[in-house]
Each structure stands twice: as C-alpha cells, then as structure tokens.
C-alpha cells in the first residue's frame, strides 16, 4: 500500500532504477534512446542478414520454425497478454488455419486423390483467416458466459474437440489420423515459394508486418481498452469500455493470427497431421510467450526464437551439452554473489566431480564403465568427471528423482547452506544429464518446456522482456 506524502520519493524512483552500475546503466540508456520502429528495423535487418548466412537447409528450417513460433506467440499474446484471457484453445485455430489451407489448396480432397481445390494463396489465406475469425467470435461468445477460469477449461476442450473432429469427421476430406498430403506451395500471381529459405524470408516479412500491426493496435484505443480490462474488468466497464465485446475481439484477433501461422506452416510442411496440433504444441507456444514476457511484442518474438533454437539444440547430442552446462553456468554467475563465493562453488563443483569419479572408479570399475551421453568436445571433457555406469538407465532414473528433490530443497535453503547444497546438486545434475536426460532428448525437451513455465512464473513472471506488473488486490 502506498503511503501518503511519498510524492518526492516516487518522483525519483525512475532515476534510482536507471541508476544501476556499469553495463546495466549503459544498456538501459541505449535502450531508452531507441524508438520502437528503429528497433523493429534493426531486428528485420538482423533477420535478413541471418537469411544470407543460413546455407544449410536444416538451419533454414529451424529459422523458419522459430519465426513461426514467434508469430504464434504474438497471436496468443493478444488474448493472454493484453486481454488477460487464458485461451487454451489457441492450438485449434493454428490447426484450423493449417487444415483450412490444406482443404483449399491441395489435391488430396479430390475423390480419387487427384483434382481437388487449388486456390492461390492470395485467396485461400484470407478465406481461412476470415473463417477463423468468425469461429473465434462464436467460441468467444460462448466462453464469455463464463468467468475467467471457466474460460480456460472450455477453451481447453475446444482444442480437444478440434483433434476429435479432424481425426473422426469425414476422413475422406480431412484424412483422419493420416492427415492430408500433397499440399500446394504458397502460390499467387504465377509465382510460388518452394525453398526453405523462401519460406524463411516469407515468415520474416510476415512476422515483422504482424509485429508492426500489433504495435499500432497496442497503442490505439483498442489496445488501451484491452489493457484496462486486463487490470480491472469492472472499472473498465464503468469507464465506457464494452468489456465483453473487447474480450471477443481479442479472442477472435488471436484466432486469426493463429490461423495465419497455420496456413504458412501447412504450406511449408506440405502436409498436415492431427498430431501437429496437440496440447504439447500449445504448451510449447505458451512457453515461448511466458519466457519472452506475457504482454510484450518483443518478448513474444524473443521467446519464439529462444525456445525453438533451444529445442533444436537439445535434439543434437553435440550441442545439447552447451545449452545445459551453459545454462547452469549462467544461473550460477547471475545468482551467486560475491565473486569469491562463485569461484568457491565452481571449484567445489569441479573438484567434487573428479574426486567422486576417481573414488567410484577405485571401488568398482563397473561403476564408471559407461560413456557420457554427450558427444563431441563436451563428451570427452566430462568423461572422467561424471559417473556413468555401463547400463545407466535405472541409475539415471534414480538420479533424476534425487535431482528433483535436491532442487526442491535448494529453493527452501538460504545463505551458506544453499551455497553448500548447490555444489552436489550441480554434480548430480551433470551425472543425471549424461546418464539419462541426453539419451532421450525429446522427453528432456518436454520436461524443460514444462520447467520453463514453472520457473519463469516463480522467479521472473514478466519473462525476459516483459515489464513488471502489480496486481489489483481483489478480483
């Protein structure tokens, strides 16, 4: 609760916040000098340069995917970030866009696998977006009968219902579990996009344009009204804002962006399957938005890039280690002060590992007979560090459970005890990683995505680029 007579103190608060030391200050100053549009231009430029540097088709696809998720996060942000509606049916609109495009632009819907409809993208995409918008309005109207929390459950069901529909209704047209094959490339006015790099550039243009549009919307009366109703729906409605109409609008706008991303996804992939639109993908999109910062355009884009690139790194045994050990190092460097404590912890972590490995090896050579899961230079660096037995699955499982318990304990500890607990925990994490986690990269990825949601919400609810928020006391 604010106090009376704190005006002057408050007046200086901005100054105090900017008055951090060293590089933070410089960064903050540079940040405040640069307007929104120049920043967008810089990002665009970086994207174009990146396109020139991406010579490998795999990398081009990863780059495309990261922009796709950035777009998806941008769309999700409209309902979740601006209007404060927990929309868990968003994935259905992504799917609707993809299936809509597939039906309107493929051969598969023809009776015998030939013929079909082949609308050019300039027609099919607007049709699909329009349909998504209308469906969004209908679902929004139903969902509005409910208070905020029920909305979540109804929309979660919407996602599930979408899966049931594409799996079961009219397999002749929608392909059932086998999906739809042989989609057209995006084509209009006699030209078409076929290469991964082409889709990357297209996605770049679309993301930048979308970000620009959303920024213009955010700074308009509609954006203000959304943010007002997120803070306090009742006060918003007492201040001439038709709350229900704006909620439906947010829902529907989000649906349209999701559908747009869906069309692009379908065209790039050439096929659509029901499994492209499961709850797992929804949670991935949420992870992008939450990590980047709910409510922030820049955050949604950054989240899309970080999560997709991270996911890609995790799937490669050579790169995953850099991400894992890098993250641990960053967290230690950021959280442990002063420097000598940090140095002590790092020394402890390294010393403990080699000592434990030597000890285990002396007791039983079978205990260290396994190879670390990491490949490349990291693999050889940690060979004499982590304990990995010949058949590491059960051992890794036990370590995983121990690790979770250790993390839970660390959260509760403070001061020196916490520092002491960090040392063995990091070592356990490393052993568990090499013995078990890296061996199942897809599961590890999922666990880490879940962890992103939990940890971000607990440690930094505004994500990487969002702004700090306070909550209205009652609601």
């Amino acid at each position: 609760m604010a106090q009376i007579g704190v005006d002057d103190w408050v007046a200086q608060s901005g100054g105090r916040r900017d008055g951090g030391s060293g590089w933070r200050k410089l960064l903050a100053r540079a940040d405040s000098r640069l307007g929104w549009w120049p920043r967008l231009a810089l990002v665009t430029l970086a994207g174009l340069i990146a396109g020139q540097l991406l010579t490998n088709v795999n990398l081009q696809t990863v780059a495309f995917n990261s922009l796709l998720y950035a777009m998806l996060a941008l769309g999700l942000n409209i309902a979740v970030g601006w209007a404060g509606l927990l929309d868990l049916g968003y994935i259905a609109f992504f799917g609707l866009g993809a299936y809509g495009f597939a039906v309107l632009s493929s051969t598969a819907t023809g009776a015998s696998g030939s013929g079909g409809t082949h609308l050019p993208a300039i027609e099919s995409i607007p049709i699909v977006i329009l349909i998504a918008g209308v469906v969004g309005v209908v679902i929004g109207l139903i969902a509005l009968r409910l208070s905020g929390d029920y909305l979540a459950i109804v929309t979660l069901f919407v996602g599930q219902a979408f899966m049931e529909v594409v799996n079961n209704v009219d397999p002749g047209t929608l392909g059932g579990v086998n999906g739809i094959f042989g989609l057209d490339s995006l084509h209009s006015f006699g030209s078409q996009v076929t290469s991964p790099l082409g889709y990357y550039y297209l996605a770049l243009v679309m993301t930048v344009v979308l970000a620009g549009i959303l920024h213009l919307l955010d700074t308009s009366r509609t954006g203000r009204a959304w943010r007002a109703l997120r803070d306090d729906p009742l006060a918003a409605s007492a201040m001439t804002i038709p709350v229900n109409k704006l909620k439906v609008m947010a829902f529907s706008f989000g649906a349209m962006v999701g559908a747009l991303a869906g069309t692009l996804f379908a065209a790039e992939q050439n096929t659509v399957f029901p499994t492209n639109f499961t709850a797992n993908i929804l949670i991935l999109i949420y992870a992008c938005l939450v990590l980047g910062g709910v409510g922030s355009i820049a955050g949604a884009i950054a989240g899309g890039l970080v999560v997709t690139i991270g996911e890609q790194m995790l799937s490669s045994p050579n790169d995953a280690g850099y991400l894992f050990y890098g993250l641990i190092l960053i967290v230690l460097v950021m959280r442990i002060r002063p420097w000598r404590n940090l140095a002590a912890v790092l020394t402890g972590v390294i010393g403990l590992g080699f000592a434990a490995h030597a000890l285990a090896g002396a007791i039983s050579s079978a205990a260290v007979a396994g190879a670390p899961g990491s490949g490349g230079s990291i693999g050889s660096a940690v060979r004499d560090y982590v304990i990995v037995p010949a058949n590491p699955a059960t051992y890794g499982n036990i370590l995983y459970v121990v690790l979770i318990c250790a993390l839970v304990v660390i959260v509760r500890l403070h001061g020196t005890r916490r520092l002491l607990a960090v040392v063995p925990t990091v070592y356990i994490a490393a052993c568990c990683w090499e013995a078990r986690l890296i061996v199942n990269p897809s599961i590890t990825t999922q666990i880490m995505i879940g962890a992103i949601l939990i940890v971000t919400m607990a440690a930094r609810p505004q994500g990487l680029l969002g702004t700090h928020r306070v909550e209205t006391a009652e609601q």
Binding site: A161, M457, R469
Partner: protein, 305 residues
C-alpha cells in the same frame, strides 16, 4: 435391455471415478480459486503406483498376498504418494504465487502437468502397461442381474467412491479441519486473523484431494486395465467438466456431475458412436454453461465492488 443395464453400470463406474477426481478440483478451486490442471496427472501417478504395487507382490499372475490386502495396500500407497505429491506441488509451485496475477498459477499448473507426464514417460517409458486385473479378480463373479453381471470391480469402484465422498462430506461439515477449510475458502485473510493456520489448511486440502485422485487412479487401473502416462489429461478435463456441471465448490455437485458425465459418456459409447463421446461431454459442458453457468448445485456469485 441387457445392454441398457450394462451401460448404466458402466456409466456409474466411470462417473464415480470422474467424481473422485472432480472432488480434488472442486476443493482446490473452492479454497484457492485455482484451477489445478495438474490434478489429472496426479490421478495418472496413482494408477502407476497401483501398478508397481502389484508387481512388488509377485505380479498379477503370482500374487504373494491375498487380493483384498493387495487392494488395501494399493489404496494406501497411492493415496499417500499422491497426497504428498499434491502437498509438494502446493508448497513449492503454487504457494509462492498466491498473490501473483490470476493467470500465473494457471500457467504453472500447465507446466507441472507437462513435467509430471514427461517424468513418468522418462522413468517408466511410453508403452501401455496392463494391470491384468482378470488374472487375480474374476470378471464373472459379482451380482447377476437379469443376464447382466455387475462384477466385483464395478461394485468396488462405486462403493468406495460413494464411501469416500461421504467421508469427505463428514470432514468438511463435522470437523475443525472442515471448518477451517470453509473459512479459508470464504476469506483467506480473515481466516488468518482468526488464528486459522491457512498454509496448513491449504496443504491438507491438497493432500486430501490428491489422495482421492490417487485412489481413483488405482481403481481406474483395476477397472479399465490399461494405463499410460497420458491418461491424466482427458480424465482431468472430464472430471473438471463434472465439477463445473455439478457446480464448482459443491461436494454433492461433484458427485452428481461425475455421474452425469459418466452416464452421458457410457450412453454415447453404447448407442451413438465411439468416436464422439468426448464431443458429447463437451456439448454437455457448453449447454450447462449457457443454461446454468453456476452448475446444478452452485450458487451464483455476487460480484464484490
């Protein structure tokens, strides 16, 4: 007629399980206004605990202890394990977020659900595991009713669920804990000022709700035989629907809602289509929302200004 009776029995059985899970949702929602999406996964963990208990005692075909004792041990371990899991979730994930934006704990709940599902996948693999109930509980013994057999498992599921719901009702209405729970639900700060240990009350609420989900998990394993790491999602979704249809916050509502959903699902499976059972449940949810948003037993909320 046979099919009709069988369908009703099936519906009651599934519905009882939904009701047990729904109770956890309803209790947690009532006390914290939090939709615990991870609750369905607690139920899944319960089913896995039951599975491993069977295997500790020699496996389904060579049990080393009598079946009733086995079932008791399964219930005991699953309810304790899941209860502790629920308490840990509350303590470490939800409690720090109690004064955070409403959306924050919901996102955390999504994260927990995802972590739980994938942890089970990592530890126990993604393949379907079977309780093989028929190896140790005869499917044909039970009550014979005009050509329909209501087998022991079905009877047990229904009886245990009703008993647990009755027990919960007694707890909430007759004990000090129940009073504290109701007090915290209606005003947390006021309850705290009156000397109620709010944190303990909330933790116990999570324990009881999760323990019931654990028992439901074991019973679903016995009744439906097959378990995977993903059974929690749909079960949780339907159980929450049951809680909403019955009127969230109401114990009787969760029970009736569970039965309604269970019966609807059973009838659509028998008479309409196996494919659209979920959509029909969804339809019930939508219709309830439109006609009676507060649910069958719920009271409309007064907006505080």
């Amino acid at each position: 007629m046979q099919e009709f009776i069988q369908t009703i029995v099936n519906g009651l059985q599934t519905g009882s399980l939904y009701a047990l899970i729904a109770l956890g949702y309803t209790m947690v929602y009532g006390i914290l206004k939090l939709l615990n999406f991870a609750h369905g996964d607690v139920y899944m963990v319960g089913a896995y605990i039951g599975y491993f208990v069977i295997h500790w005692f020699g496996g389904p075909t060579a049990l080393s202890i009598p079946v009733p004792l086995l079932i008791l041990i399964m219930f005991a371990l699953a309810s304790t394990g899941c209860g502790l899991l629920g308490v840990a979730m509350e303590r470490f994930a939800y409690r720090p977020l109690r004064d955070a934006p409403r959306i924050a704990p919901l996102i955390t709940a999504l994260g927990i659900s995802f972590v739980l599902e994938n942890t089970v996948l990592l530890l126990f693999g993604g393949f379907t595991r079977s309780y093989q109930t028929e190896s140790f509980i005869s499917a044909t013994s039970g009550i014979h009713l005009g050509g329909v057999t209501i087998n022991i498992v079905e009877i047990m599921v229904i009886v245990v669920s009703v008993a647990m719901m009755f027990g919960l009702r007694q707890i909430v209405h007759r004990t000090t804990l129940g009073k504290s729970m109701r007090a915290v639900a209606s005003d947390r700060e006021a309850a705290e000022m009156l000397g109620i240990n709010v944190n303990r009350t909330i933790a116990l609420t999570f324990f009881i709700g999760s323990a019931m989900a654990g028992v439901a998990g074991v019973m679903s394993g016995l009744a439906f035989d097959q378990i995977t790491n993903t059974i929690g999602f749909l079960a949780g979704l339907k159980a929450f629907t049951a809680a909403v249809v019955g009127g969230i916050g109401s114990i009787a509502g969760a029970m009736i809602g569970g039965i309604v959903i269970g019966l609807a699902e059973a009838f659509s499976l028998s008479y309409i289509s196996t494919k659209y059972a979920d959509l029909i449940v969804f339809g019930i949810l939508i219709v309830t929302m439109l006609v009676r948003p507060q649910g069958i037993f719920g009271r409309p909320l007064l907006q505080k200004v």
